[in-house]
Symmetry: C2
Subunit: 325 residues, 2 copies
């Protein structure tokens, strides 16, 4: 059992054990995890949830470390969670290493939790959504969810955060051709990192290009012109300006109610996705359907039956089987 009082005092051991519990797929662990979630719900929702993405090499860790140092000096308490699909996509973990954030990893007011490896992206997403709640209950008033943005992870992170930061490297207009419109459309704030010394001029060009590209996009939020700011996390330059922009955005979405309505929508969407996963899990474990499932799977494999047709029959039989169960 997790000691809620200790957890609420941000006791690291309780925090770690709680998140480990959320990551477990064991049935008894899951029940315990849901009990825990029920107990902490009253203490959740009080943090600003910040999503940060950027390709490998853009300097996410250094940026978060530098931003985090600034925020802790301002009296904030910061939790950093990572969604690292590379553990499922390309084998090795990109973000796993705590030591990438030398300041935060040693500071009492910061809690860093790497992504669990070897789970599906969906699994990582659920665990991260729940971990956000745990960190909020533990009194962290800022929760950063970072992702390297492989495949679909940045969409998932945008779906669980209040503001989404896109980190870019200084680069010519050609670079933008490579940035997927999808990502641009998710960004509430764009930061061109490593905008220092010899890259300053290039950075200026990138900023102009990004602003231009953003003008072509349907804005994600009315009355919000996505800021494109230069920064050098390594030299702690532009960090405060970035934070001012985040604050301005927070003020806007709190003021016009978008933060609350967006969170409500996120939660409902999450409930649906989760419900689907649970039903499929039950179906695949239904002993009465083992033979049917094997048969359909085989016929689908052999292209004897269209997957969508098999799916309808499978769903029907699953629901039928409950009557006699």
């Amino acid at each position: 059992m997790i000691d809620i009082d200790k957890l609420r005092q941000a006791d690291r051991r309780s925090l770690g054990r709680a998140i480990t519990l959320l990551e477990s797929s064991r049935e008894d662990h899951r029940k315990e995890a849901e009990l825990l979630l029920d107990q902490i719900m009253p203490y959740t929702g009080n943090a600003l949830r910040i999503g940060i993405t950027g390709v490998p090499g853009v300097g996410k860790s250094t940026f978060i470390d530098s931003l985090g140092r600034y925020l802790i000096e301002q009296g904030h308490r910061l939790a950093v969670l990572t969604v690292d699909p590379s553990s499922s996509v390309s084998g090795g973990s990109i973000l796993g290493d705590k030591t990438r954030m030398s300041f935060l990893s040693t500071h009492d007011c910061a809690y860093i939790r790497p992504s669990p490896s070897g789970t599906t992206l969906g699994g990582v997403a659920r665990r991260t959504r729940e971990a956000i709640l745990v960190c909020e209950a533990a009194g962290y008033d800022l929760v950063i969810v970072e992702t390297v943005g492989v495949g679909q992870s940045e969409t998932l992170v945008a779906e669980m955060t209040d503001i989404f930061l896109l980190l870019l490297l200084p680069g010519g207009g050609d670079e933008l051709q490579g940035i997927k419109r999808g990502i641009m459309e998710l960004a509430d704030l764009v930061v061109v990192n490593k905008a220092d010394s010899d890259m300053e001029r290039t950075a200026k060009v990138s900023i102009a290009d990004v602003k231009h590209a953003l003008n072509l996009l349907k804005p994600r939020l009315a009355n919000w012109q996505v800021p494109v700011l230069p920064a050098s996390a390594l030299h702690n330059q532009g960090i405060e300006e970035v934070w001012m922009a985040v604050m301005a955005y927070q003020e806007l979405i709190v003021g016009n109610g978008v933060l609350q309505s967006r969170r409500k929508q996120q939660s409902v969407d999450w409930m649906w996705r989760e419900t689907g996963d649970i039903l499929l899990g039950q179906l695949s474990r239904d002993e009465g359907l083992i033979f049917l499932l094997d048969d359909l799977r085989q016929r689908v494999r052999d292209e004897k039956i269209a997957p969508s047709v098999a799916a309808r029959y499978l769903a029907q039989q699953f629901l039928e089987s409950r009557k006699s169960s």
Copy 2:
């Protein structure tokens, strides 16, 4: 009812009506669609399924038009389907316009079908998977599925095709920083388009950069070094070389059985995803759960209960309710 014989003779009207039927969400249409799928299954699976993605401006349409002209001259029959999530993501359709492919759109041996707008990405994906089967039954031996690669669409397209082409623009090394590793990892073949006149040198640089980037990635398929080729669709340059590479890839995956095993896996995954969608649809239409659903939705919205906890209870009640139904 669709006339299967006419469909198999690639009668355009039957083909169009068949795909429209697949796009309908009406229950009676769905039943008819599944009957159609059952009837055509024996005639499916004979085409090479080619996925093509690239950012807006890379020249996808011109490339497909140029490639298609070459293929038709070789005696092939070509169907082009588009997955255009922009219709759901950013409102307006990017790929909808047939006339982008001036040659193919007027040729008897080519069939172009734009993406249905106003549906979810998942809906577009299912319809496209089924449309591939219909085009195969109609005797097209090549099916190209193009997507602009917004959000998650390129992953979906990679999941329904045999070979995945990534189109890039000539650009410096910085450009690559913007290309998501996720996309690079999906690519079986990379084509740097618009590699003509004054861009030739830049294209050479890009090709070197892309090759370098690919070396950093875990190969998607053993014994296959992803080729990175220059092309100028506008001037019909490099098209044959691209096709030779596609052929080499097909020979490899047919020879080592990857094509078949990959298709089998794709079909099973598709069956699962579809089953989940169907069960959620039933649950949301279950009259006995209306009040519970509203209540849970409200409590999730108000952050009184964790979405994952609500999901488990909802799934339980749904399955319980079937017993008494």
